[in-house]
């Protein structure tokens, strides 16, 4: 490469200046290569087409987002838990009891937590409109901060900023069992009419579900943790199953970009189905190429 670049430089011609620049840049960058460290490869020659996979998934999601931005109507199927949320808040107003919202027991880096905060926005807006008291105990300091902003903004938009109580959105503890015990206590003492459990949960899901049911609260749960869904399905009135939680976030916001990304994920699912179908056809035909691509 160096020799070719030097040769190009001697022969002159229209591209000479460009070639000299490339050479200079290359010589400048050379010392940086000594700083390079070993790292896992993105593209493995022995099979795993990870880069292709990442680009394909990215392209599908981008396609969905572009469709959304271009104004293409994207409808989401109705999610029963969301439809029930409005009635549940109305119930709280009628009973004169508060609404408790738990945004899961994970940090903000988890997609489930982000989706839970989207649902919180809807619930906070409805509570602000109807005057229901909203209590949000949090397990993470960053989530507490974002939840406070979300709820405060909802009250401000509803023109009832004076009714926003900062102390009702609070950090409890980031130890799972301590947090669980404290939320149990809040539910038992405050007797909420409705409890929303929206986000990523672990072993505490059943405890929350049981405590809420026992307190006579209407329970609307949603989580992307497949291992916790059975407990919500059995103890709660409505459950947003897995990706319905993400769908809820997009559907609530009616944001073209979010709906588009949901569309993109659906395209990804269709691609996976096509991949599996193609793989089976190739297997039956005795062609092992796709196995190699997928790392087999």
């Amino acid at each position: 490469m160096l020799a070719a670049a030097l040769d190009g430089g001697r022969n002159g011609g229209g591209g000479e200046a460009v070639k000299r620049c490339v050479l200079a840049a290359w010589l400048l960058l050379l010392p940086l290569t000594t700083m390079a460290q070993d790292a896992p490869n993105w593209f493995r020659p022995d099979g795993g087409w990870i880069l292709v996979g990442v680009l394909a998934v990215g392209a599908l999601v981008a396609t969905g987002i572009l469709q959304g931005r271009a104004g293409r109507a994207i409808e989401t199927r109705p999610i029963a838990g969301l439809v029930a949320a409005e009635d549940a808040i109305g119930r709280a107003v009628e009973m004169g009891r508060p609404v408790v919202f738990v945004t899961g027991t994970q940090s903000i880096t988890k997609p489930g937590t982000v989706a839970g905060l989207s649902v919180l926005r809807l619930v906070a807006e409805k509570c602000a409109e109807t005057g229901a008291r909203l209590i949000v105990p949090c397990i993470d300091t960053i989530v507490t901060r974002i939840a406070t902003e979300t709820v405060e903004e909802a009250y401000r938009q509803a023109g009832r900023h004076d009714q926003f109580v900062p102390d009702d959105v609070f950090f409890v503890s980031n130890r799972q069992l301590a947090y669980t015990a404290a939320v149990n206590g809040v539910i038992e003492r405050e007797h909420p009419a409705t409890v929303f459990l929206q986000g990523e949960f672990s072993a505490e899901s059943l405890i929350f579900g049981e405590t809420g049911s026992r307190a006579g609260a209407m329970m609307i749960a949603g989580t992307d943790k497949e291992t916790q869904l059975p407990f919500f399905v059995t103890t709660c009135d409505h459950t947003l199953i897995g990706e319905e939680l993400y769908g809820a976030g997009a559907a609530i916001s009616e944001d073209a970009q979010l709906l588009g990304s949901l569309r993109g994920v659906d395209l990804g699912r269709a691609a996976v189905l096509a991949l599996v179908a193609l793989g089976i056809v190739l297997e039956i035909a005795g062609v092992g190429w796709l196995r190699t691509v997928l790392g087999g």
Binding site: W42, G48, W49, I50, G53, V54, V57, G58, E75, T76, R77, I108, T109, K110, V114, T141, I142, R145, I146, V172, S173, N174, R175, L177, A178, Y179, A181, A182, N184, G185, E188, R189, A203, L206, E226, L229, P230, F231, V233, T234, G242, E243, E244, G247, A250, L259, D266, R269, A270, V272, L273, V276, G279, I280, E283, I284, L290, R291, L294, G295
Partner: protein
């Protein structure tokens, strides 16, 4: 009975937590607040001994080289921005480390999801059909295939559904419920084991009435 103070404290706190099963009460509330307090204390200590002293303090006062010290200072300052909301005018600054944390997590997750989940699981589903050597293996592979397909269809949120897709989606719900049943059964084992462990502690280590 045990004569160890730690056993007595643990036993009394266990009973206090069990009292919640009867109904919410003052003893449970005390235990609850003890747990929150101890949990917070442990968190502070862990942050101090596993992050602040070895990473931040040593990273700045005894760095490997100047570059590593500079990185430590930069990221510590970014971390400090999490506390910006304490000064209302500067609250927006907390969004910078929040954005970095979310971006880092997303960037880390996507290639791993493709490499460790999407490809191997798709391959496993395909191989299940391709490598099935017996009638039982064929049935097994077909169950996995139908389950994978129908559950993927169930979670399609933006696709308009006709009768056929609805039927496939309903099959997906059946698979989901079967999966939930399996999770529930395993969870029963889990919870019973924890309870047995507590009973062994209370009647064994505390009361010494279990056969050894």
């Amino acid at each position: 009975m045990s004569t160890e103070l730690s056993v007595w404290v643990a036993a009394i706190l266990s009973l206090a937590m069990f009292s919640f099963l009867y109904r919410e009460n003052a003893v449970y509330r005390v235990a609850e607040h003890v747990m929150v307090g101890v949990g917070t204390g442990v968190t502070v200590l862990l942050a101090l001994y596993f992050v602040l002293i070895p990473v931040v303090w040593k990273g700045i006062t005894a760095p490997k080289d100047a570059t590593s010290a500079a990185w430590t200072i930069l990221f510590t300052l970014l971390g400090v921005l999490f506390m910006a909301p304490f000064v209302p005018r500067l609250g927006w600054l907390a969004r910078i480390p929040c954005g970095i944390a979310i971006g880092y997590a997303a960037g880390q997750t996507l290639p791993a999801a493709i490499q460790a989940r999407l490809f191997p699981q798709a391959l496993s589903t395909i191989q299940g059909v391709g490598d099935a050597g017996s009638a039982w293996a064929v049935i097994n592979a077909l169950v996995v295939l139908v389950g994978t397909t129908s559950v993927l269809v169930y979670f399609m949120m933006t696709v308009r559904r006709g009768a056929a897709l609805n039927a496939v989606s309903r099959v997906g719900v059946v698979f989901l419920m079967l999966g939930f049943g399996a999770v529930y059964g395993n969870m029963v084992i889990s919870r019973f084991t924890i309870l047995i462990g507590r009973l062994q502690f209370l009647f064994g280590e505390w009361f010494h009435i279990l056969p050894t």
